[in-house]
C-alpha cells in the first residue's frame, strides 16, 4: 500500500540514515546502501532556519519595535483623543485603520494595545520560565523526596484547567475585578505566570531527568563538582533548548489568554489600558456594522501568535525537543 511517503524535509531531517530515500523501503539493506563511505559527510546536520522563520522573526521585531516606540510615534492619543462623530467609521484619510466604537483612532489603539498584550505575554512567561525552570531543574536533578514533591506540585497545579486557574487567581487577587472595572496588567501577568510555572517546570524536570543520567554529569560529580555548578554549568545549557521552544509557544498562549480573560471580565481595564484582547471584546458588539475593529485587532493577534508558533516549532525541530507534547 503505502506506496507513498516521499516524506517532507522535516521528517527526513531526523532520519539521517535513510535520508532522501522513500521511507517505506526502510530496510536495513537500503540504509546500508546509502551509508557508503564518502556519503556520510554530505548529511545535513541541523535544519536551517527557513524563510518562514525569518518572516516570523521579522514580524515580532516589528511589533515589539512599534510597541516600544509608541510614545514617540506621531499617533493620536488612544484614550484622550476621540471624535464621536466619526465613531465606528472604517479606514479613511487621517485614520488609515478607521475608528472604534468610542471614536478613538484604531491605529493608535492597536499600537498602544500591543504594549499590554506583549507585556503580559512576555512577562508572564519570563516569570514562569525562571521560577518553573528553577524548580524543574531542581526536581529533575535531586530526585528523591524533593523531586517527587515538586513533581507532585506541578501535577496538582496542572490538574486545574489553565483558564480557570488564571481566572480564579485574577478574581481573587484583584479587588477591582469585583468592582467590574477590569484589572491591572500586573495582576493578569502574575496570574498567567503562575499558570505557566507547572507547564515549564514539568518540561524542565523531564528534560533534566534524562540529562542528569548522562556520563558527563556523572563525571562532573565524580570530580567533586558542587551541586550548584553541575546544575548551572552541566544541566542548564542542555535543558535550555527544550524550555525555550515551549516558552515561545507559551507566549502565544498567554497573549490569547489575555483576550479570554477580558471576555470573562477579568481582563485588563479597557478604558485606561487598551490591549489587543479588550479591543476585540469591545468591538464585537458592533461586529455587523463595523467589523474592521475586531478584524484588525484579530489580525494583530493572529500574526503574532502565528509567528510565535512557527518560531517555537522551528526551535523544536532544530533542537529535536522530545517532550513537547504537553
Amino acid at each position: 500500500m503505502p506506496e507513498p511517503l516521499p516524506s517532507p524535509a522535516e521528517e527526513l531531517a531526523t532520519e539521517e540514515a535513510q535520508e532522501g530515500l522513500p521511507v517505506d523501503a526502510g530496510t536495513q539493506e537500503i540504509a546500508a546502501v546509502i551509508a557508503v563511505p564518502g556519503a556520510t559527510a554530505a548529511r545535513r546536520r541541523k535544519k536551517p532556519f527557513g524563510v518562514g522563520a525569518w518572516l516570523a522573526l521579522g514580524w515580532l521585531v516589528f511589533v515589539i519595535g512599534i510597541a516600544l516606540l509608541a510614545p514617540v510615534l506621531p499617533l493620536k492619543d488612544p484614550i484622550n483623543w476621540s471624535d464621536p462623530t466619526l465613531k465606528l467609521q472604517g479606514p479613511q484619510w487621517g485614520h488609515i485603520l478607521g475608528l472604534d466604537q468610542g471614536g478613538h483612532d484604531m491605529l493608535s489603539l492597536l499600537v498602544w494595545g500591543a504594549r499590554p498584550s506583549l507585556e503580559i505575554g512576555f512577562g508572564s512567561i519570563a516569570i514562569g520560565f525562571v521560577v518553573g525552570g528553577t524548580l524543574g531543574l531542581i526536581a529533575g536533578y535531586f530526585r528523591g523526596l524533593i523531586g517527587e514533591l515538586l513533581g507532585g506540585l506541578f501535577d496538582i497545579m496542572l490538574a486545574i484547567p489553565a483558564v480557570i486557574l488564571a481566572l480564579a487567581i485574577v478574581a481573587a487577587t484583584s479587588a477591582s475585578v469585583t468592582e467590574n472595572t477590569g484589572s491591572h496588567v500586573t495582576n493578569v501577568t502574575i496570574a498567567l505566570a503562575i499558570v505557566s510555572v507547572p507547564i515549564l517546570g514539568r518540561i524542565t524536570r523531564a528534560s533534566a531527568l534524562s540529562w542528569s543520567d548522562r556520563e558527563f554529569v556523572l563525571a562532573a560529580r565524580a570530580q567533586g563538582a558542587s551541586h550548584f555548578r553541575i546544575l548551572w554549568r552541566e544541566l542548564l545549557p542542555n535543558v535550555l533548548p527544550a524550555m525555550f521552544s515551549i516558552a515561545v509557544l507559551g507566549i502565544a498562549v498567554a497573549i490569547v489568554a489575555e483576550g479570554a480573560l477580558a471576555i470573562l471580565g477579568a481582563g485588563v481595564n479597557a478604558a485606561s489600558t487598551p490591549s489587543w484582547g479588550n479591543i476585540i471584546i469591545g468591538g464585537q458588539g458592533n461586529l455587523s456594522e463595523a467589523s474592521h475593529i475586531v478584524i484588525e485587532a484579530s489580525i494583530a493577534i493572529f500574526l503574532t501568535v502565528l509567528s510565535l508558533n512557527h518560531l517555537g516549532d522551528a526551535l523544536r525541530a532544530r533542537f529535536d525537543v522530545q517532550e513537547a507534547r504537553i
Binding site: 503505502p2 511517503l5 521511507v23 501535577d155 483558564v163 478574581a171 481573587a172 487577587t173 470573562l264 475586531v294
Partner: protein
C-alpha cells in the same frame, strides 16, 4: 496491579490537593471574605454568616468542614439578592455540569471525527499538495483564538444569515433537544483541537507507516484503506488519545469562554456569573468541581491507555 493501586492513591491525593486549593482561593482575597459576600449586611448577619462558613475556626478545620459539606453535596447557596439569591449552589451545579460536559463531548467528538480521517489521509499522502495545504490551514487555525472564531460565526451564520440562534441568554435550554444552540459553540471549541489532533496523528501515522508490519499487511494483499485504518491507526493513536484526554482540561477552559460568548447555561457561564456577582462560596465549589472532573477524566484516560495497547499492558505487567 501494584501500579493500579499507586495510581489510585495518587488520584486521591490529587483530588484532595485540588479541593484544598479551590478552598484556599477565598483566603487569597484581601480583607474579610464576609465583606465581599454580603457587603451591606448588618453586623449580626455577618457574624451569623461567619459562623455558618466556619470562618472563625482554624484554617484546617474550616477546610475540613467545607470538604465534608462539598462531598455530601451541601455546597452552600448564593448570598444576597442581586443574583440568584438563596439558590442552592449544588442545584445550580447539577444543571450546569451536564450541560458543559455535553458541550465538551460534542466538541471532542467533532474534533476527532474530522481530525482522524484528515490525519490518516495527510500521513498517507505526505508530501503531496493536499498534505501541504491541510497542514497550512491547520497551522493557521492554531493561531486563531477561539473567541475570535466564535464572534465571526455568531455574526455571520447567526445574525446575518439567520441560520442558527445567536445566544441562549435567559432561556432554559437542553444541550440535546435544543441542539441548534449547540452548533456554533461546538464548532468554535473544536476547530483548534482539530488542528492539534490532525498534526499529532499525522506525524505518528507517518512513523507507523514505516514499520515492518505495514509491509507484512501489504504483502497479504489487504487493501490500503484497511491497512490505514485497521493496522496503522491503532498503534498511531496512543499519543492522540493521551492528548485528547489531557485536552479535556483545555476544553473546559475554552468552554468557559464559549459559554459566556453564547450565554449557554454551563459551568463556565455559572462560574463567570459567580465571579461577577462576588459569590465566593459558589466560586469555590465550581472551581473544585471543574478540577475534579478534569482529574477524573485524566485518570480514566490513563487506565484506558493500558487497556488499549497490549504493549503497554505487557510492559506494566513486567515492571
Amino acid at each position: 496491579m501494584r501500579t493500579l493501586v499507586t495510581k489510585l492513591l495518587r488520584f486521591i491525593v490529587v483530588i484532595i490537593a485540588v479541593t484544598f486549593f479551590s478552598f484556599s482561593l477565598i483566603k487569597l482575597v484581601p480583607g474579610d471574605p464576609v465583606n465581599y459576600i454580603i457587603p451591606f449586611g448588618s453586623n449580626a448577619i455577618k457574624a451569623q454568616l461567619r459562623h455558618d462558613l466556619h470562618l472563625d475556626d482554624p484554617f484546617f478545620v474550616q477546610y475540613w468542614h467545607w470538604l465534608r459539606n462539598f462531598f455530601t453535596g451541601n455546597m452552600g447557596r448564593y448570598y444576597g439578592t442581586s443574583f440568584g439569591g438563596g439558590v442552592s449552589v449544588s442545584n445550580q451545579l447539577w444543571k450546569a455540569l451536564p450541560f458543559s460536559l455535553v458541550l465538551i463531548l460534542y466538541a471532542q467528538v467533532l474534533a476527532l471525527a474530522v481530525a482522524i480521517p484528515l490525519g490518516v489521509i495527510t500521513a498517507y499522502r505526505a508530501g503531496t499538495r493536499f498534505d501541504g495545504a491541510s497542514n497550512a490551514v491547520a497551522f493557521g487555525f492554531l493561531a486563531l483564538p477561539s473567541y475570535v472564531l466564535a464572534f465571526f460565526l455568531a455574526i455571520w451564520v447567526a445574525v446575518k444569515w439567520g441560520l442558527l440562534p445567536v445566544s441562549a441568554a435567559g432561556k432554559e435550554i437542553s444541550p440535546v433537544s435544543d441542539w441548534r444552540y449547540m452548533i456554533l459553540p461546538t464548532i468554535s471549541l473544536a476547530v483548534a483541537q482539530i488542528a492539534v489532533y490532525m498534526r499529532l496523528l499525522r506525524s505518528d501515522m507517518i512513523a507507523t507507516l514505516r514499520e515492518d508490519f505495514i509491509t507484512t499487511a501489504q504483502a497479504k494483499g489487504v487493501p490500503n484503506r484497511r491497512i490505514l485504518f485497521r493496522h496503522a491507526l491503532r498503534p498511531s493513536s496512543l499519543t492522540l488519545l493521551t492528548v485528547a484526554g489531557l485536552n479535556v482540561g483545555a476544553l473546559i477552559g475554552g468552554a468557559v469562554v464559549v459559554e459566556v460568548i453564547f450565554a449557554l447555561p454551563g459551568m463556565g457561564y455559572a462560574l463567570f456569573q459567580a465571579i461577577g456577582a462576588k459569590q465566593y462560596v459558589a466560586m469555590q465549589s465550581y472551581i473544585a468541581v471543574i478540577a475534579i472532573v478534569y482529574v477524573v477524566i485524566n485518570f480514566v484516560v490513563d487506565i484506558l491507555y493500558s487497556v488499549l495497547d497490549p504493549r503497554i499492558r505487557h510492559a506494566r505487567a513486567a515492571a
